[in-house]
């Protein structure tokens, strides 16, 4: 059986100090990553701006999950419950955004018909 909480009852004060140091370092790393996001927002990254900002956000979220929430030290049942919600979020967002982003494009046409059907500037089929 797992302990009440990971780390509870550790007699080794050196290990406790190391854990506290790890938390402080994680906090500093989070602030550094936030600073990086803030700095990058002033650069002209055009279409890359949002993916890069979200990538840094994922890195920060991973730090919070693993260091502060001790997610990977939880029981399998706990991890499964949380990951299910994350998978549902990704499914919902991916398919909804994919639907909206591709709704105005034409359906797949045979190549010979597609060559005869010029598209409008927005990518939609002509009326």
């Amino acid at each position: 059986m797992a302990p009440l909480l990971p780390g509870v009852g550790d007699a080794d004060s050196g290990a406790e100090r190391a854990h506290a140091r790890k938390l402080a370092l994680a906090g500093l790393a989070l602030l550094a990553l936030a600073g990086l996001s803030f700095g990058l927002s002033y650069l002209r990254l055009a279409a890359w701006a949002l993916p890069i900002a979200l990538l840094i956000a994922v890195a920060k979220a991973s730090l919070v999950l693993s260091c502060f929430m001790e997610f990977w030290r939880e029981a399998v049942s706990v991890r499964l419950a949380a990951l299910t919600a994350l998978v549902m979020l990704l499914l919902l967002a991916t398919f909804t955004i994919a639907d909206v982003a591709t709704r105005e494009r034409p359906p797949l046409l045979p190549p010979e018909q597609a060559a005869l059907t010029p598209l409008t500037p927005t990518g939609a089929l002509p009326p």
Binding site: M1, A2, P3, L4, L5, G7, V8, G9, D10, S13, E16, H19, A20, L23, A24, A26, G27, L30, L31, A34, S37, F38, L40, S41, L45, A49, L50, I52, A53, L54, I56, A57, K60, A61, V64, L65, C67, F68, M69, E74, A75, S77, V78, A81, A82, T84, A85, L86, M88, L89, L92, A93, T96, I97, D99, V100, A101
Partner: protein, 208 residues
């Protein structure tokens, strides 16, 4: 205080049940915000220029300050649990109070942020002179989602402060010892979730 409830045969099972229940709750909270994040993605795919303009109009400095405050507060909350494990109740209480103080500062800055938007005529639901002046543009989706998402998040910050306050009070009265800390751990988990949500709200509405 009797730490072990009657229907559990061991403290380990009780702690595991409490943590499982908390993580299921956090998962449901994530799904609550999932709808708003999905709407953001869908509308941004439809109105990319309007969303980019909306981000340019948002209060980047205040939003970024709030990011730093929430990250620091999360560090305080995690350190509080660490101190409690080492039976340092006084330090744990101080760190939890510091976490709540950060939450209050966050809400004050949020209030200032909303005040700035209201002064520019940007109100929820596409109301105000800003939208009247840009009648041909589709700015409403960005700002409606902005107020919905940040408002719901601010509500969670307020609830988090209350949860931490009650937990701190109980901790100060000696209700939780070093071997019975999962109520405190669960309260800090809620706070970390609030931080996690903001980590994604910040780039979407303030940066890019």
């Amino acid at each position: 205080m009797n730490e072990l409830a009657d229907h559990f045969d061991s403290p380990e099972r009780q702690a595991h049940a409490a943590r499982l229940g908390m993580w299921v709750f956090l998962g449901s909270e994530l799904l609550l915000f999932a709808g708003l994040f999905t709407l953001y993605g869908a509308y941004r795919a439809k109105f990319p220029a309007e969303f980019a303009e909306g981000v340019r109009h948002s209060t980047k400095l205040l939003g970024s300050l709030n990011t730093a405050i929430l990250l620091v507060s999360s560090s305080f909350a995690a350190l509080a649990v660490e101190q409690l494990r080492r039976a340092r109740r006084g330090r744990a209480v101080a760190l939890l109070l510091a976490t709540q103080a950060c939450g209050v500062v966050f809400l004050v800055l949020k209030f200032m942020e909303y005040s700035e938007h209201f002064a520019l005529g940007i109100y929820p639901g596409g109301q105000g002179r800003f939208f009247a002046a840009h009648a041909s543009a589709h700015f409403e989706p960005f700002w409606t989602l902005y107020f919905l998402t940040t408002g719901l998040h601010a509500l969670h910050v307020a609830v988090g402060i209350l949860v931490l306050a009650f937990t701190t009070l109980a901790l100060g009265r000696g209700s939780f010892g070093p071997k019975f800390i999962h109520p405190v751990h669960n309260a800090t988990l809620y706070w970390h979730l609030v931080d996690l949500i903001w980590i994604f709200v910040w780039p979407l509405y303030y940066l890019a």
